[in-house]
Symmetry: C2
Subunit: 465 residues, 2 copies
């Protein structure tokens, strides 16, 4: 009998008591290793191991039989130990450092509920909540109506904007493909995020059809050059359809002059997309929102609250000014097993067909709970403090003798820093310049003494170089 090798059919394969005990123990380890030790400036940011050594330590291979509880809990501890502590105040490496406990509670709840955001029936709370959070974000952009969706990361949000811009201009692309269209061209600055390239390649538009507009000496896109390049592209037989500009460039944090760019987009009737994944949170700040003046004139905005607002990876909103249901028209496939039209509730609440995903994680709860916890004023404070820290850092660097923004020795300093585990910060070349360190200082866990630590530590690590 085929059931012989299986346990009794009336006994589930999951033991709830044992499972919940395990989860409780794992939670304690997370609290201790990741959230207490992992945010303690007296502890290391990373525990560097060479890949071969780490693979051995972790014993990663999967096997036929399972392992006992204690061994599994040790694995939880090991994963925590050897992972980078991205919430540590000395993690200056990327734009997702820091932690917010309300957001994290929202993330744990999201995982436990294991909900797919496609229909009201399957996700009643989150369909309404996403709608409300998007409304709140749009309001900050300056729109009283519109549309939007949370995407798995900013690159996807930017790609969605590209697809929407193309579809709005040439709806036949959905059925006939790019062959039915004239050659298109996209305009962006060389400082823009690499997702413009990835999007153009993925969507079948091609890297050669991205036209890079000149930037000024501070890295801002020059509207006059944009205008000229658009004219030039037209004269060469292409059809410009999209300008993708930046609020907060990836490397330097530069804000393009949106108002002037909007004038050019108006003139040529082009879709204006603002990649505000990094800088998008400045509208929370009365002091800094001028940096995005004109954003309300855009057609779409990509904004990652998992960056400056510390909502946790991933949380990326694509906001749209559109009120014609473009998102759904562009992306829908009308699958009958999900989006039945004879339901007993308003099927406009079945938002899944706005996405090119089918499984779509709930990314709104963590932001919503954090927003409820600290209010818009609390988020404003975070933005303002990030600017103050950045300004302080620049001032102090200027004061310190021998301290230079650019450094030939960045890779060596970086290696020493990683192996000692004292802090993490990224470096990179810029244009024809040599390497420099790109410090991100927005985490709400940061204090001014962490800025001083950063400077002291760079000096210490590089003093013999």
């Amino acid at each position: 009998m085929e059931q012989a090798s299986l346990r009794d059919l009336n006994e589930p394969l999951i033991d709830h008591a044992e499972g919940q005990f395990f989860l409780n123990e794992a939670f304690k380890i997370i609290m201790e290793e990741v959230l207490s030790n992992g945010t303690d400036v007296k502890q290391k940011v990373c525990e560097w191991k060479e890949p071969e050594e780490l693979a051995l330590l972790l014993d990663l291979g999967v096997r036929e039989t399972g392992e006992p509880r204690d061994k599994l809990l040790q694995r939880v501890r090991d994963v925590a130990k050897y992972s980078v502590k991205t919430s540590h105040p000395h993690f200056f490496n990327q734009q997702y450092g820091g932690v917010d406990y309300h957001s994290l509670a929202g993330r744990f709840l999201t995982e436990a509920l294991n909900t797919n955001l496609f229909t009201y029936e399957a996700a009643p709370v989150f369909v309404l909540m996403e709608n409300e959070v998007l409304r709140g974000l749009r309001q900050l952009v300056g729109w009283t109506e519109g549309d939007g969706i949370f995407c798995p990361g900013g690159s996807t949000s930017n790609m969605y904007a590209m697809n929407l811009a193309r579809y709005q201009r040439f709806p036949e692309v959905k059925s006939q493909g790019v062959w039915a269209l004239p050659r298109l061209s996209i305009f962006t600055s060389p400082e823009s995020h690499y997702s413009v390239k990835k999007g153009a390649a993925f969507l079948g538009i091609g890297l050669d059809n991205i036209i890079f507009v000149k930037v000024d000496d501070r890295g801002r896109l020059i509207p006059e050059d944009l205008d000229e390049k658009i004219e030039l592209s037209k004269s060469q037989g292409a059809v410009p359809f999209l300008v993708s500009c930046m609020s907060g460039t990836t490397v330097q944090g530069v804000f393009d002059p949106l108002d002037h760019i909007a004038d050019i987009c108006d003139k040529h009737k082009l879709w204006m997309h603002v990649d505000a994944c990094w800088g998008g949170s400045v509208p929370f700040s009365k002091k800094h929102r001028h940096l995005m003046k004109g954003v309300d004139r855009a057609n779409s905005v990509a904004w990652n609250p998992h960056k400056m607002l510390v909502a946790g990876l991933q949380c990326s909103a694509l906001l749209l000014k559109d009120t014609t249901n473009l998102l759904k028209q562009c992306h829908s496939a009308n699958a009958t097993y999900l989006f039945q039209q004879d339901k007993f509730y308003d099927v406009n609440l079945d938002i899944g067909d706005k996405s090119v995903q089918c499984s779509r994680k709930v990314d709104c709860l963590k932001l919503w709970l954090m927003w409820k916890a600290v209010g818009s004023m609390g988020l404003e404070e975070r933005v303002d403090k990030a600017f103050i820290h950045a300004r302080y850092l620049v001032e102090q660097m200027k004061k310190r003798e021998g301290f230079q923004l650019l450094s030939m020795v960045a890779p060596v300093i970086k290696e020493r820093m990683m192996k000692q585990g004292t802090m993490m910060v990224g470096y990179q070349p810029l244009g024809n310049k040599v390497n420099f360190f790109r410090v991100t200082v927005f985490s709400p866990l940061l204090s001014q003494k962490d800025m001083d630590f950063f400077l002291d530590e760079i000096e210490r690590l590089g003093k013999d170089l």
Copy 2:
């Protein structure tokens, strides 16, 4: 002075003690509401509310000021209360029901670590772990080498396969776009997942260039018709480049005859992609792996462990036979701020450029920890039990008088079921047939009496119809 409105600069904006207390309390609510009550058959699967009523109950609007701890904890409780309990044994609605506590511990740890999977420096543990998990999955497919990546859902995995197939045949598409290519055609069955359509539209190939191959009376793609349609498409001037076939169709769970399809793909030199998002777990089972015989001859396989293996949303692997680094060549943009070539470790471990995402969540840990906990044998048991439950259900339905697979009254029964909250199951039309219920019965929490409950409940809800 601008700092006046801000708190002391040496005081972080996050209060760790308060934050950790909150997280602890939220964790207790999650354990109680979601994992204990939420999996208890004596409790409801859903607490149905009309959208307007629910919006009022939840008070979703965000405001200027934050809220006190108790109010926020009540919000956590409310979100849990009004959300669908997808782990409940009577949630038969979609292919992500059920819970695994080890996986969930991995998910909480993932969230707390907040890691972006792009470089070894930022994600040392997870770069190695993803590699190992992908190796384990590839082995089940029958490949001793190859490549792969975790994607945000199966639709994205399928889209990646489409882009890779196109790029391998016509690498110039990356720079020049689709205009440089002859008109392409894609072959799939009408039973395939809607992501083939979404992918073709998104990638600029167009819905009209998808050619639907006939299926037999059980819903399996007919290889002879595939061969004919490929010939026909060629004769019409198109260039066939991809066959996307199914292991576990979305609605009926049908497995296409992969071995025969591979013969046709070999003959015409087409990329063979297997969408095994749903059925991909059968290779764990010695009894059922024959359903995917020939899968090793494919070029790519999409497989969602968040479905039959209950790894939790989202966990979708794209597996590739390719050993030429096609994934990276196709998707890379070589951003200098992440993928510096002068690093002090092997930069081949910086896997981020294989993705079209920049922020990419860690989706391997939950599967790895679960796999370590129950072993391949434990996962085999889950697959086998899912088949036994499904077979039992069919047998019992045949025995019950008046019980029919197809039902004119599905929408009415569904409405009653949702409003009473006793269980959830999806319905849909199939071809020219009226609605029927699509029951998913793979959760490791299920027992045979849940199958009996399902049948009794359908009878009870529909007895007056």
